[in-house]
């Protein structure tokens, strides 16, 4: 059954099982909640995912959900969502999640449909501005470019919780499914921009079956928790066409990239009254091969890593602040950006042999210090302001930026730059 049919079925079931909200018992009542956010982004140098040097309002999210308990163990729900960030989203309405959740015992439940969240504390909630102090999550572990690809997945999820007595509580999830890969998502955009000199058009993205687990330990020390998880997918296939003079001269006729990926994370939080400290680490690797019309060639495996530390403090119910520092390396074996491409048939045809892997050294890292302020006007309205000082350009595509006049292979971007953000959110 495809996702549209699943969503339609779940929405139909929510309506069928719903009843008057004044009913005596709780089953069948439909809860309706939603949110809408409008943001503004500006950079002093470099364009970040949009034309941010001139400032942009193409930065918003909105969602509405419908949830009902059919019985004391079965819950149905669906959330519709739209967002815009530069060329991503364009306010197209999508099914954010839609699932049937059967909670048999505390130690075992199962959800079928489309679900939120793969990794870390915040991948499931990254679209939900009202749940955190910062505007943009640290790009070291929550890269905006892959946000739509990894924020939800379709499949089956088993979950549960076990009380450990004096040792606290253990929560766990295991899932099998497909991530949200398509020619419209950031993962295709990243490939398209990486090969823009070949004028690559992505026609198809075939996601792999992905398995993941996540375990959270709530320690006896109040407010302390550790979460860890792992995800693996094999044989993701991205295919497209090449339409450039360079491709024609090099005899390159098509684009097929097949790869495996895996990733793991460790996240920890300590929250005591108004203070919370959060640290997260993420590492992942891609290993694949490509065929540009002359047969498959193995590509060098690449491992990325990122981490951050954040301190949040609630000064009052109306004012909260957060500071964070993060580092991201798109290739841990090339942290300084000095490595060059090996001499291969394809690299030579593409004029890439012996050229630096990253056009600018500082595209091999991104180090960001961020200050975020949150003002809760009331229970429903909030305003946030944020400033981030960046060293490097490692977590972003440089595609929105011009090329250097003397070298079309290298983006004309600056190493040090500021990002300013503001956002208003209404939640009901």
């Amino acid at each position: 059954m495809n996702l549209k049919k699943t969503t339609t079925l779940i929405l139909f079931a929510v309506i069928i099982f719903s009843k008057n909200s004044l009913a005596e018992d709780q089953y069948g009542q439909v809860d309706i909640h939603g949110f809408i956010s409008q943001g503004y982004l500006q950079t002093d140098k470099n364009n970040y995912l949009a034309e941010t040097e001139d400032g942009t309002f193409q930065f918003n999210e909105m969602g509405i959900n419908f949830t009902t308990d059919v019985t004391d163990r079965l819950r149905l729900g669906v959330q519709f969502f739209a967002r815009d960030m530069g060329i991503n989203g364009n306010d197209e309405i999508v099914v954010d999640w839609a699932n049937a959740d059967y909670h048999w015992r505390d130690w075992l439940g199962v959800r079928i449909g489309k679900h939120k969240g793969f990794s870390g504390f915040f991948s499931a909630t990254r679209d939900l501005d009202m749940l955190r102090t910062c505007i943009l999550l640290p790009q070291s572990t929550y890269g905006e470019l892959f946000r739509d690809a990894f924020s939800s997945y379709r499949g089956v999820e088993f979950y549960g919780r076990i009380l450990l007595g004096r040792a606290g509580l253990l929560a766990y999830e295991f899932s099998v499914g497909e991530p949200n890969f398509s020619p419209d998502t950031g993962i295709a955009y990243a490939f398209k921009q990486a090969f823009s000199i070949l004028n690559l058009e992505i026609n198809n993205v075939k996601p792999s079956t992905t398995q993941a687990y996540r375990v959270t330990w709530y320690a006896p020390l109040a407010g302390f928790k550790i979460k860890s998880g792992w995800i693996e997918g094999k044989n993701t296939l991205i295919s497209g066409s090449l339409n450039s003079a360079l491709a024609d001269r090099a005899g390159l006729t098509k684009f097929e990239y097949e790869y495996d990926f895996d990733s793991y994370f460790v996240s920890t939080e300590y929250q005591r009254e108004k203070l919370s400290l959060i640290g997260e680490f993420l590492s992942g690797s891609m290993d694949g091969k490509w065929d540009l019309g002359l047969g498959y060639e193995d590509r060098p495996p690449r491992t990325f890593q990122g981490w951050y530390g954040a301190l949040n403090y609630d000064f009052s119910e109306f004012f909260k602040a957060s500071v964070s520092y993060s580092e991201f390396y798109p290739d841990v074996d090339n942290r300084h950006g000095k490595d060059v491409n090996p001499v291969t048939d394809y690299n030579t045809r593409l004029l890439l042999s012996n050229r630096k892997v990253f056009g600018n050294d500082f595209e091999a890292w991104l180090k960001t210090t961020t200050l975020s302020l949150r003002f809760d006007v009331n229970e429903y309205w909030l305003l946030k302001l944020e400033v981030a000082y960046n060293d490097g350009f490692g977590a972003y595509t440089s595609a929105e930026n011009p090329r250097k006049p003397d070298d079309p292979f290298v983006a004309d971007v600056d190493r040090y730059w500021f990002l300013y953000a503001a956002k208003v959110t209404y939640t009901f």
């Binding site: 400032g55 969602g63 949830t67 959330q79 909670h103 009380l163 009254e273 000064f315 009052s316 400033v387």
Partner: protein, 148 residues
């Protein structure tokens, strides 16, 4: 926007709100935990109450569903949330919004008055809630709370 303008705007916002400091954490004082009279449970630990009101424990030992009810805006709500969940009231609200908007929970039952929450607990199997010591609780049972 220059950084000077940005910092000026920030300074004004901070000045307005930082000193309008309604305490997020109320002092610990008496809160009565109440439950449906038909329940066999008579006592709970603080940890068990926390797990119930954060949705970590959703079934009683006999596998009947736990239905917990909360108050809103009353002082007893602040006292309960701080004492038993290790969160402020807005952190508690954010916690449940989190569960709701990712499709893994529903917002708890919320009542505006203590009489309403007592009536709900009295007529709902497996229900648990909280009130201040001055509330009329003839129709429900009071749960004894231990520290462990």
């Amino acid at each position: 926007m220059t950084i000077k303008r940005f910092l000026k705007a920030v300074a004004v916002m901070v000045a307005i709100t930082a000193f309008n400091n309604t305490p997020g954490m109320a002092s610990e004082s008496e809160v009565l935990i109440i439950a449906n009279k038909d329940m066999t449970i008579n006592s709970l630990s603080k940890a068990e109450i926390k797990n119930i009101f954060l949705g970590m424990t959703t079934f009683w030992p006999d596998n009947t569903k736990i239905t917990f009810a909360t108050l809103v805006k009353l002082e007893v709500h602040k006292r309960f949330v701080v004492k038993y969940t290790n969160k402020s009231t807005d952190q508690f609200r954010a916690y449940w919004r989190n569960q709701l908007f990712i499709g893994k929970g529903r917002i708890p039952k919320i009542f505006k008055t203590e009489q309403e929450i007592v009536n709900f607990v009295a007529k709902t199997d497996g229900a648990i809630g909280y009130v201040s010591p001055s509330a009329a609780i003839d129709t429900v049972k009071v749960i004894t709370v231990s520290d462990n």
